[in-house]
Symmetry: none
Subunit: 226 residues, 2 copies
DNA sequence: CATCGTCATAAGGAATCCGTAAAGCCGGCG
DNA sequence: CGCCGGCTTTACGGATTCCTTATGACGATG
C-alpha cells in the first residue's frame, strides 16, 4: 500500500502543487490549511509522513511540531519554511522534525528527501519478527508457528502484516480498516472482529485468551512483540 | 554510551573542525582521509553515524555511499558537499544518504541534523515517563507497573495521559473534565472521583495513601514525577 | 459537638463493545 | 455442473466499560 502524506500549509497554491507532485509519485495525499486542521487530521487518521509549513496563520509551526510529538506520534516530519536562518532549523530539528527544507525548494530534492525518510530504516531486508513460537517474515510473505507453515488468505495476511509493522503499537479500528479494506469501509468493524478472530484461531496457543494479538476495547488492536 | 561518528573527508582542516565540534557534544569521533580508509573503518568498527564528504580523491563519494549500503550497513549517513545542485542531492539521497548538507555549512545546523538522525525513531520526543515502579509510555499507549502491563480502559487512559502530560502540575477539576469528558460535563466531578480512584487501584502500591496521583483539595489532581 | 463540604470507595444497571459460530455469496477449478 | 476456499454479512451471548447513585471518612468551621 502506498504511503499517506499530510501537507499542512495555508497557501492553497503550494498545497495544490504538492498534491499534484506527490500524487504523481503514487503517494496518497491529505491536506490541511491550518494548524488546527492539521492536528485534527493527524489525530483522526495518522499519515505516514507530514510536510509542515512553519508559517501558519493560527498557530506557530514550531508549536504544532511539539504538539505532534507530545501526542506520541513518531512519523517523519519535514518542515518547510521561508526562513533559512540557522536558529530556526536547529529549533525545528530539536523539536522533533526529521528534515528542514527552505523555500523556495526544488521539487526533485523534496521528493528525494521524502523517499529517504520513507525508506525503511530497518535496512534492505527487514528481519523476520518472532513472537513466542510464531515467526512473521514480511519479506517472504510467510508465517510459521512452531516451525510449521501457516496458511493465510490474502486479507488475513494484509491484516497481520499491518499489525506486525508496528509491534506493540495500538492501531485503531479505522486505521486498520482503511489500510486493509480501503477508505470506504472505515466503519465496518465487523470485518475486523471476524478476521482478528481467524488469525487468533490460526496463531494463538489459546485463542480464547490471546497473547499475540491483544484488543484495546474501544480503540483497536495491537500485536505484542513478547 | 555516547554515539560513535565517523568523518570521511580528505581535508584535514574540516576533519579537525568536526572532531572538535563533535567531541564537544560528547560524541566519539573516528576519522578517515580517503574512501578506502573510510570503508575499511566502517567494516572494522561500524559507527553509529557517518559524515561523508563527496569530494574524495581516490573514489567518487556517491560510489562510496552505494558501497556502504550494498555491504548491508544501515546506519545514518550525512553527505557533505560543495556542490549544491539539486541533481547531486537527489542522487545521494536515492543512493541511501539520510541527509545532505551543502558547504559551507553552519555547525549548529549540522549538529542538529546529527541529533535528529541519532534520535531513536521509536520515541523521538517522548521518553516514557517513569514514576516509581510505573512506566507511562504515551507513544505506545502502554502502561506498565513493576514490569507487568496494566490494562486501562479508554477513559482511564485519556485521564492518565492528560495528567502525565504535565507532571507535577495541578490540573483543575474543570480542566480535566473538559479535556476528557467534553465541555458539557465540566461540573460532573463525580466522574473524576470514580476514575481517579480506578487509576489508583490499578497503579498505586497503596491505593489508600496515593503517592502517584495526589489530590489538591478544592482544586484538582496532579501526577507526581517522583 | 454539630454541621457542612469535599473526597474515597463500593456497587449496580444500562449501554456498548467484542468473540464466535454460521450461513449466503462469489469465483475458480476440475 | 458440483466442489471448495475465501470474502462478506448477520446474529446473539457474554464480557467490558461507562455512568449513576449511595454511603461513610475526613477535615474545617463555628
Amino acid at each position: 500500500m502506498s504511503a499517506r502524506i499530510l501537507v499542512i500549509d495555508d497557501e492553497a497554491q503550494i498545497r495544490k502543487f504538492l498534491r499534484i507532485s506527490l500524487g504523481a509519485q503514487g503517494y496518497r495525499v491529505a491536506e490541511a490549511a491550518s494548524a488546527a486542521q492539521g492536528l485534527a487530521a493527524i489525530d483522526q487518521a495518522p499519515p505516514d509522513l507530514v510536510v509542515l509549513d512553519l508559517g501558519l496563520p493560527d498557530r506557530d509551526g514550531q508549536e504544532v511540531l511539539s504538539s505532534i510529538r507530545q501526542a506520541g506520534f513518531t512519523m517523519p516530519v519535514i518542515v518547510l519554511s521561508v526562513r533559512a536562518g540557522e536558529m530556526d532549523k536547529v529549533e525545528a530539528l530539536d523539536r522533533g522534525a526529521n528534515d528542514y527544507v527552505s523555500k523556495p525548494f526544488g521539487v526533485a530534492e523534496l521528493m528525494a528527501r521524502i523517499r529517504a525518510l520513507l525508506r525503511p530504516r530497518a535496512g534492505p531486508q527487514s528481519p523476520p519478527l518472532t513472537v513466542g513460537s510464531v515467526v512473521i517474515d514480511c519479506a517472504r510473505t510467510v508465517v510459521t508457528r512452531a516451525g510449521a507453515e501457516v496458511r493465510l488468505s490474502k486479507r488475513e495476511w494484509a491484516l497481520l502484516r499491518l499489525l506486525a509493522g508496528q509491534p506493540d503499537h495500538v492501531l485503531t479500528h479505522k486505521h486498520i480498516l482503511r489500510e486493509v479494506w480501503g477508505p470506504a469501509h472505515v466503519d465496518d468493524t465487523a470485518y475486523l472482529r471476524v478476521y482478528v478472530n481467524q488469525l487468533r484461531q490460526k496463531l494463538e496457543d489459546d485463542p480464547a485468551s490471546p497473547r499475540l494479538i491483544v484488543t484495546d476495547p474501544g480503540v483497536g488492536y495491537r500485536l505484542k512483540s513478547e
